[in-house]
Amino acid sequence: MWKLYYNKKLTIFLLLLPLLIWLGLVYLGSLFTLLLNSFYRVDDFSGVIVREISLSTFKDLFGQRTNLDIIFRTVAMASSVTITCILIAFPIALFMYNNKNQFLKPILYLGIMLPLWSSYLVKVYAWKLILAKQGIINFFVELTGTQVFLDSLLSIPVIGGTSLSFSYMGIYLVFVYMWLPYMILPIYASLQRIPLNLILASEDLGATPSITFRKIIIPLVVPGIVAGSIFTFSLTLGDYIVPTIIGNSSYFIGMAVYTHQGTAGNIPLAAAFSIVPIIIMLIYLMLAKRIGAFDAI
């Protein structure tokens, strides 16, 4: 009986159906709605959303200096955060990979995972306290009498500010702290995936450890770095809490989206803003593919 009604393709289809509904309707559907909204526009006088397909919202987005500044500022922040994360995460991942100490291993893991388990807001506010004028950093600066250095650091144009918690430098520090685990873990994973025999083979063929590192280990870790940078880059692109709490009230894309869909009531512009990170990420992935970042996967 069972065999009579059994149809392999139908079974697979039915099993996949809930997933397809979720992915198709809820996930892709909302993305599509977002895209569609970005082609609507807000009537300048009445403030009513005009549901007609046009590029006028995008013209607004890219035509106004302030909007372009927001995009540029966000991309610059995301890039510098990503690069810094790579530079810090790589040695940490390498250390974890080389670590043979069984006692240290769980401590390293925990040290990286633990911040991910605690609340996002708590971490940001904690950092605000660390960076604030009467905060922990200032306390130590006063203790050691290095006020001059901090002041000269803060007096650097653009990235400086009245205090660390009201500057791009502060936002940058907090972003780097927040996303660092997302960079360490993929790099560590890709290091672990390198078969030991490849390293032995390289040495066997006459490569010193430093040549092996450059010619074998680094290229094979690139997919991990790309994976990590997708996290750090896109998380920074979309974040609006850190710049709101730490920053000097200059806008980032996330804040712009938040304001336009909320108080300003300009949903089309908010939608257009949120398309920007998606496009940037697509370009980034295409570039990564072109340089062969995924060849070794």
Binding site: P195, N197, L198, L200, A201, E203, D204, L205, G206, A296
Partner: protein, 329 residues
């Protein structure tokens, strides 16, 4: 001239004794096989030669020089790995050229050498392919070319054929042997396949539990095994324990005889040194011949013949004393 020499070399991993004071030498230009079950120390021996491991005590001489402390990248030996260990991010050309590029050879030299290495392993022009786009046999050849292009004094092969299917493996056995003869360098070949070792080697070292139990030519190892382990591991064998040997042959030691030296007595006029009766348990058709499992005193023995025999029948087998091998325990 010895290319490789081990002198009382011991290798320990924590408490585990992987190699227990072994000594042997490999002649220049020899095809030398390390044969043994897994965990017997043969791969450890190879890794010691490559420099991936350090001996706990004893010496390793490469071309007469004590080499235990020389790092792998300074040794004039190259390895073909069991899993080939091709670099996945490099294409075939860059994989093969890897060693020469490190030695900073000119581009034209590299190109010429890669070409001749590819010819040597009889591979068509695949230089732009990535390893993931190659078949197992092709990977095997690339790994061989990548090692040989460096013109090592000694080539180390770590079960290089074990991942290939039977037909390809047999082809590669012949080809490897040909390449070795042509370029005349020393090959040290690790295998657990006794057939492979017998058919390819000049000499075989049989490993068991971290020790070399016998070294000799394939003929010696097969015809004159010195221990029960070698007799059982290399080829098929019939072992008669002390009591059976005593009663049958009058020798108070464990004795071995190869199945092909046990003859079915067809004619009462045939004369053998010793004749004895067995019960036929099973006949297995293998293509070339029929393999018979025979029992006597609840122990099983093997003999070959061309004719089928009836199960359960009584069979008289004859043998000559010269084929009997008393074994040490």
């Amino acid at each position: 001239m010895l290319d490789i020499e081990f002198q009382n070399t011991t290798c320990k991993f924590k408490e585990f004794l992987a190699l227990d004071s072994i000594s042997f030498g490999v002649e220049r230009g020899e095809f030398f096989s390390l044969l043994g079950p897994s965990g017997s120390g043969k791969t450890t021996t190879l890794r010691l030669v490559a420099g991936f491991l350090q001996p706990s005590s004893g010496k390793i001489l490469i071309e007469g020089k004590e080499s235990s402390s020389i790092p792998p990248f300074k040794r004039n030996v190259n390895t073909v790995f069991q899993d080939y260990a091709l670099f996945p991010h490099l294409n075939v050309f860059d994989n093969i050229a890897y060693g020469l590029k490190i030695k900073k050879q000119s581009a034209s030299t590299i190109e010429k050498e890669v070409k001749s290495a590819l010819e040597m392993v009889r591979l068509p022009d695949l230089i732009h392919r990535k390893p993931s786009e190659l078949s197992g046999g092709q990977k095997q050849r690339i790994a061989l070319a990548r090692a040989l292009i460096n013109k090592p004094r000694v080539l180390l092969l770590d079960e290089p054929l074990s991942a290939l299917d039977l037909k390809l493996r047999q082809e590669m056995q012949i080809e490897l042997k040909e390449i070795q003869r042509k370029i005349g360098i020393t090959f040290i070949f690790v295998t657990h396949d006794q057939q492979e070792a017998l058919s390819m080697s000049n000499r075989i070292a049989v490993f068991n539990k971290g020790k070399i139990v016998q070294i000799g030519s394939p003929e010696q190892v097969y015809a004159d095994p010195t221990s029960e382990f070698v007799a059982g591991f290399v080829g098929e064998s019939n072992i008669f324990d002390k009591t059976s040997s005593e009663s049958l042959f009058g020798i108070s030691r464990t004795c071995m005889i190869r199945p092909e030296n046990l003859y079915f007595k067809k004619d009462p006029n045939e004369k053998y040194d010793i004749e004895t009766e067995f019960i036929l348990k099973e006949s297995i058709y293998t293509g070339i011949t029929i393999k018979h499992i025979l029992s006597k005193d609840n122990k099983d023995y093997i003999a070959y013949s061309q004719e089928k025999k009836e199960k359960g029948s009584k069979i008289i087998l004859g043998l000559y004393r010269k084929d009997l091998r008393p074994l040490s325990d």
